[in-house]
């Protein structure tokens, strides 16, 4: 049972990732794309944790820890972008 449930959960999470990818692709605003990318980190963490259990690779928990710890850096760099220019710069 657990042998099927764990990979099925990872599969579900990865389908979630692909749905999130659509949001990064379609936008429409920079903030939408950015939030989708951050959601990506969260889902990757979940997928890594389940993979660690399923593949018996406990080190993957450390990888998940790193992603949780460092995800905020990208958003800090993002908020430094000049405001108001978002849509104009992204209309191309």
């Amino acid at each position: 049972m657990i042998d099927i449930a764990l990979p099925a959960i990872v599969l579900f999470l990865i389908i979630n990732l692909i749905a999130g990818m659509l949001r990064v692709y379609r936008g429409p605003t920079l903030a939408d794309r950015m939030l989708a990318a951050l959601l990506f980190s969260t889902t990757t963490v979940a997928a890594l944790l389940v993979l660690a259990e399923w593949m018996q690779l406990p080190s993957l928990r450390n990888v998940a820890l790193l992603i949780v710890m460092l995800a905020s850096i990208l958003s800090l760099a993002f908020v430094g972008l000049p405001a108001g220019r978002e849509e104009a710069a992204d209309e191309q």
């Binding site: 794309r33 890594l48 690779l57 450390n62 820890l65 790193l66 800090l76 430094g80 972008l81 710069a89």
Partner: protein, 313 residues
């Protein structure tokens, strides 16, 4: 069965993300797709049973490159606000034929590689057989420091050379531009730093220590420590400095120098070069390399020769 579907999905999204990150409609989208590509890549390494690579990818991708590209993008739109439209040169007519030829070449080589008789992995089995006598549990650390130590020594040298050449082309005026992304006194920033900075230091030391027996090592630990430095630069706690500080320079050199000195020492008592005298030497070199790698990455991020502390309130 589910595993196969999983791997196929990861492969398809990797290819899609790779195409999007070099071919996106705007630079910003390209950057985000590249960041997401890094995350998907770490999932792929995890599926390939390579947690070390997954960890390096996660630490560098989430901690350093994403912020680096975001800062570069900000500089670009400050210099020239309509960057987006002018940056893209018209595609050459040769692009499609070259892409097809390169694809065909990869296909042919791939087919040949699949059909060729697989060679027994001599080096890998030799490492696993001899690992027991070294006291290390992680074959990757064993390869990096004992069996192929010379390569690692050269890699550390290359990292230093990369920093020196980056400094050679950095203009002094650029150092005056702040990398700080927002008001450093925002209360949320202080709270974030109070949690994340001690945690990164703790985790990097943990990874360094774990490197002897399981996944981890100097490079991953250094990347995490570098991410901590990037965070401090972004929030204005550390700034680029023009004055060379002895402390920073010592930190930059300590990895290379320890490796060279400990590697030369065995010659004195008739042992071969780089025959490290024991576990203590491995941990010493790993710790020194962690500090050097972290400092090099932070200085590359700040584009500076040195760092200074900035106080706020």
């Amino acid at each position: 069965m589910i595993g196969l579907a999983l791997d196929l999905l990861i492969i398809v999204s990797l290819i899609g993300l790779a195409i999007q990150s070099i071919n996106a409609a705007s630079l910003f989208r390209g950057i985000l797709h590249f960041v997401v590509l890094g995350l998907a890549m770490s999932l792929a390494w995890a599926r390939l049973d390579a947690p070390d690579l997954a960890m390096a990818e996660a630490a560098i991708g989430a901690g350093v490159t994403g912020a680096l590209m975001m800062i570069a993008y900000r500089r670009l739109i400050e210099i020239q606000p309509d960057q987006e439209s002018s940056l893209r040169p018209p595609p050459s007519r040769l692009a499609v034929p070259i892409a097809l030829a390169a694809g065909a070449l990869v296909g042919v080589i791939g087919l040949a590689a699949i059909q060729a008789e697989p060679m027994p992995a001599l080096a890998g089995t030799a490492v696993l057989e001899n690992l027991g006598s070294t006291g290390l549990g992680n074959p990757i650390t064993g390869v990096l420091l004992l069996f192929r130590g010379f390569d690692t020594l050269l890699e550390i040298t290359v990292l230093l050379a990369a920093l020196l050449s980056a400094q050679a082309v950095t203009r002094q005026v650029d150092l005056d531009q702040s990398l700080t992304t927002q008001d450093p006194d925002t209360p949320l920033v202080g709270a974030l730093l109070a949690i994340v900075v001690p945690l990164t230091v703790l985790v990097s030391v943990h990874l360094l220590k774990a490197g002897g027996q399981e996944t981890g090592g100097a490079f991953q630990a250094g990347a995490v420590l570098a991410a901590c430095g990037v965070l401090l630069v972004l929030t204005g706690r550390l700034g680029a400095s023009r004055q060379y500080s002895p402390l920073v320079n010592t930190g930059l050199l300590v990895g290379l120098l320890s490796f060279i000195l400990i590697g030369l020492a065995p010659l004195l008592w008739g042992q071969p070069l780089l025959a490290l005298p024991g576990l203590w030497a491995i941990y010493w070199i790993e710790s020194a390399m962690m500090i050097s790698i972290a400092l090099t990455l932070v200085l590359l991020f700040a584009g500076a020769g040195s760092l200074k502390r900035r106080d706020h309130g």
